[in-house]
Amino acid sequence: MLERLARLSLRLRVFLFFAALAAGALAILALGIWAGLARLDEAGPEGAYTMTGLIVGFGLVALIAWIWLMFDENVARAIDRLAGSLRARAHADVSHELKHDHAIYLGDLAPAARAVTGSLTETKSALAEAVERETTRLAIENARLQALLADVPAGVLLCAPDHQIVFYNGPAAALLTAEHAPGLDRSLLDYLNPAPVRAAYERLSLPERAGTATDLLCATTQSGDVLAGRMRLLDLPQGRGDRPGYVLTLRDVTADLALHAGREALLEEVFERVRRPAANLQTVLAAGSAREAQGRAALLAEVEGLAATITDLGARYDAARGGWWPMADTRSGELAEAVATQAGQAGIALAVEAGDLRLQCDAFQLVALLSHLAERLVGEHEAHGLSLQVAAEEGGALLSLSWTGPVLPVARLEAWLGRPLEVGLADTTGRSVLAAHGTEVWPEPGPRETEARLCLPLALSAVGAPAGAAETRRAVYDFDLLDRDPPGALAETPLTALTCIVFDTETTGLLPSSGDEIVQIAAMRMLGGRVVEGEAFETLVNPGRSIPAVSTEVHGITEAMVTDAPPIDIAARRFHAFAEGAVLVAHNAPFDLEFLRRHEAGIGARFDHPVLDTVLLSAVVFGQAQTHTLDALTDRLGITIPPEARHTAMGDTIATAAALEKLIPMLAGQGITTFGEAIAACRRHARLLKDVNDPERVPA
């Protein structure tokens, strides 16, 4: 019956509906009159009228209530849902097909809406394709530039005139990071000693310095490392007033300065410790007391002291020797291949057996030395069957150049080491290369009788895991920040201009009041309504208690994983620093915040940030009656979360951030564009979830 009804036209259905209403009313009236007449004899006319009135009254109320329920369910709510879905398609990029099963009684409205959204999607995708072609071209150009800047070994920063960071590369992040990493739209002066930076900026702002660069020396505020920098103003059309932004390149000179200081100190110590015994010796000898036993003892004591001093100082000098020469981290395989290639050009076949070690050396010089030796061996020593091995040994690596033939006389080797090498530097000989590397080379008989070899030990590189090197290869930027207006009052700030920290926590359970604790925090930064790639925060937290198996089943975090993790006080302090000055965003923020706020005393900071809750924003956009779980919300917005990422702190953070990205334009479609308006709209849904903003700090 209902099936057949659903197929009739909407107008006919509405007509039938109201006809049914009229018929129903008449039927109730007839029923009332019939019942009244039936009781006329026993109850008299008053009773009969009352009876009729009661039946007709209640009957009509029931009929109308039923009709209202039907209308609310099938018309009002259906229209609401349809409108929500339409908005989702109009303002956010939701492209999957409109569901119309909950609007089947609205006649052609749902199919019509579907047609509209379908053609909208088509138009959008045609437009998007055109835009994409152009965007791809720009993106490729952008990526090239980014790769270039990410690979520059110096730290490169671009700042707005108020010193807010607009661009930084991996090395810059590494130079500035101590307790917390630098981020876009944070002040550079929080990371570097402000005075030299300001002074350099003022120097460059003088009219006569236009277009020039200036050098500066400044220390990082967190670690005190000394950085050498060069600043140049940006010659671009400016958005923020007349003052231009600037580019700052940074290099860590702490090690250089320490090396210089160390050498200076050693030299001073040499004079200090040698001068006194030398003077004493002269005095003792001049006095002629060496002939007496006492005098001889004094002489001996002085000489012994002097000898010990020289031995000690000499050892220290040798240990520091070669430290000034720029040594890079070089893979043994690449070094050996380079030697083989170089030797190959001189017509020498060189077999290579190099393993994968990371050597601390000047590869260019070493290749020149080794290929020089190979050439001499073949040319002057009649060696053949040459091979180069690099093997790990205690405290370093041993390079050995082996051949079939007699052992090389040391005298001949020394003569070869004295010849200049072709490395483009004057006065570079094999001897000087060895000295720069603090090493030696010597001939040895080989393992087999007909063989011989040259041995050259090298230090291994002290660098950490390769993952660290990969991580620093990045460039993070948002050039829109250069043209942004200075921020005003928070309530008037457009949602698209907010700096947000989207975060999520995983916990041991749902009840912080009964001792449940955080086991993981993840967060991402959003600037200008977009997630900043490359600025994320993720940490495990040692909850200081057991993790129930049921919780581990949800988030996959075991007790073993958190044994070495920081406790909540430290982890949350780092998170607090990461979130400084930003709006916190979470899905069901009161839950996560309660866990954090319980530890405010230990953390030494308050989580009194302004807060946006995606549960409440979802209610504002889609209506309170919908389900507002993260799964339901992301599903409605067409965001897919890989199942393995669901219920991990970072996975849910990514999902929440993606939802916020899509909710912001939808809110704008409803006329909600500023933070204040969003909070006011959220507070209308207090029945669903309490707004956790401090009413005094964030007035509606």
């Binding site: 020289i310 020797r321 006389p409 040391v410 005298a411 020394e414 030990p457």
Partner: protein
Amino acid sequence: MTAHETVPHVLIVEDEANIALALSTVLRREGWTLTHIDDGARAMEAIREARPSLVLLDVMLPSVSGYEICQQIRLDPDLAETRILMMTARGTQMERRKGLALGADAFVSKPFDLREFVGEVKRLVGEAQHA
């Protein structure tokens, strides 16, 4: 060899006369035969002739380096029982490795403690005698 049964012979190859004199004085007290050569070029000739139990060899010599003499001794099978003690004023870890790799039995850096030095010399002479 019969020479081993008799008085040990120590040959000093050292261009610094003062050091050579001091070493000779100390070692003569042990009753050993001592020869001093101040030029590296004549060293091999003298060693082959005298067949010493121990050669005290300075690294920095005019014309021929101590390393070279050390290598030549080790390449001569007739001198296999000769012990070599190398001495240098600049004894880095790498030079020590180089010296030992080239066949020295011990390597000392100047300035050295004379008592320890004599102990080392006695040990090496003892080894050569019982080789």
